[in-house]
């Protein structure tokens, strides 16, 4: 398996892998020094191939980009020691009160563990925030809400509505199969070749409509896997739904 993965460096560097191979490779290569070095080198090579086909962009693009960045918040930098970061970002118990007693302490511990592992915490909180009105509708109405339809098989549909401003996402789906006893669906945010956990959800009667509170999470795509109850820090099963922003 590992040998196979080693041989995917080139195809990966050219974005020429299938989604499931890409997921597998991305789970592997950052921790494999040989692969990480080779990917870095081959990406430099790919950049030369890109330079060779450089074309002057239309002049109006520059104005559009500059106008866009003026109203776009930047991601927080990656902090070298994630433990320090978590300690700083989450002052003692205050922010925990967002979580209701609905989730077992084990989950909270796990959520904290995920935050430590990932550096970008993807905490889950259910629809407990606003009692008045539907929080999901509220999110959909956010000015910067972006809806992503996730590609899926036949009878089911799943979409993710995300507001970077509010740092929340909602998963809305129908026709979902039950993830099975002791298992849950987990949403992943993919960004720049990595994935971060974005929250857990479970369908009721095949339907889900749930608000997930993110933690300064950024995304260029969403994916969903089935994971053991409590979720996983990295996907451990095949991506069932996937969509890019």
């Amino acid at each position: 398996m590992t040998d196979d993965l080693h041989h995917l460096t080139a195809a990966y560097s050219l974005d020429a892998l299938d989604p499931h191979e890409q997921e597998a490779f991305e789970a592997h290569y950052p921790s494999c020094e040989a692969c990480a070095t080779e990917v870095a080198e081959l990406r430099e090579t790919a950049a030369v191939l890109a330079s060779a086909v450089a074309v002057a962009p239309p002049p109006k693009l520059r104005a559009a980009v500059m106008a866009g960045i003026a109203v776009t918040r930047q991601s927080a930098p990656t902090v070298p020691d994630p433990r320090v970061a978590v300690a700083e970002i989450r002052p003692s118990n205050g922010s925990r009160s967002r979580f209701t007693g609905r989730f077992p302490p084990r989950f909270l511990a796990l959520a904290a563990a995920i935050a430590i592992v990932a550096g970008v915490a993807g905490g889950l909180w259910a629809t407990v925030g606003s009692r008045s009105g539907d929080p999901v509708d509220d999110l959909i109405a956010a000015p910067d809400a972006v809806t992503t339809e996730l590609a899926s098989d036949g009878g089911s549909s799943l979409r993710v509505v995300w507001s970077a401003e509010r740092d929340q996402a909602a998963v809305i789906g129908t026709g979902l199969t039950d993830p099975g006893t002791g298992q849950t669906y987990e949403l992943w945010a993919s960004l720049d070749g990595a994935v971060a956990p974005a929250g857990l959800f479970a369908p009721v009667g095949g339907e889900v409509r749930m608000l997930l509170d993110l933690d300064d999470l950024d995304a260029e795509g969403w994916g969903v896997t089935v994971e053991p109850e409590g979720g996983s820090p990295q996907p451990t099963s095949e991506i069932l739904y996937f969509g890019t922003l």
Binding site: L14, E44, V65, M66, P77, L191
Partner: protein, 201 residues
């Protein structure tokens, strides 16, 4: 090819000023990461052609290419605070984001088309926009020469994958060759290119 010269020539020519540009880009990205819009504008001026060029190559449709290129730059802006110079050059990072976005666009469209089994597709009206190739002879020649050192089948596989935006399995289907063979050709070809271009990560 018998003479050692091609490699030596490429290396010895190793872009006068290219190192300077790489250093400059890194400095600018650090400033952009701190919210400096002017620095970002300079980055745009230095890599705008690369981004638009590769997006255009893969996506082809000019209007869509502009959309995607704009998304790419907003993404670079958003992620600038997380750029890690120790993991590679700014150009490489930017090209990675641009190519990824471009293939995402064509693949999600392909998926949508497959799903809906739409039969007709409209080609963009011709002559809408004349793409102006950036006259960077040095880079063109360098890459052309490096590509010429690959075998025909390696070059074909690398070009279809990168410029065509196809997965290696799709390339295999296009070339009616086994997937494993294509994976190997892409790998051998790209590694050879890396060695020829003397790219140091």
């Amino acid at each position: 090819m018998g003479e050692v010269s091609p490699i030596r020539r490429l290396r010895s020519q190793a872009a006068p000023g290219q190192g300077d540009e790489a250093t400059r880009l890194t400095e600018l990205m650090i400033r952009a990461g701190r919210g400096d819009e002017q620095a970002f504008g300079e980055i745009y001026d230095l890599v705008g052609g690369l981004v638009y060029g590769i997006v255009r190559k893969v996506v082809r449709d000019p209007a869509q290419s502009q959309e995607v290129a704009q998304e790419v730059f907003l993404e670079i802006w958003r992620l600038a605070p997380r750029h890690d110079p120790s993991k590679g050059s700014v150009k490489s990072w930017v090209a990675t984001i641009a190519h990824r976005r471009a293939v995402d666009r064509v693949r999600s469209e392909q998926a949508a088309r497959n799903r809906e089994e739409r039969q007709h597709r409209l080609d963009p009206p011709p002559g809408d926009e004349v793409a102006e190739e950036i006259d960077d002879r040095f880079e063109h020649d360098r890459v052309r020469r490096a590509l010429s050192l690959l075998t025909d089948v390696q070059r074909e596989a690398v070009e279809l994958a990168y410029y065509g935006g196809y997965t290696y399995r799709e390339v295999a289907a296009l070339l009616q060759a086994p997937q494993g063979t294509i994976k190997t050709r892409i790998r051998d070809g790209l590694i050879r290119l890396r060695d020829q271009l003397g790219v140091i990560a």
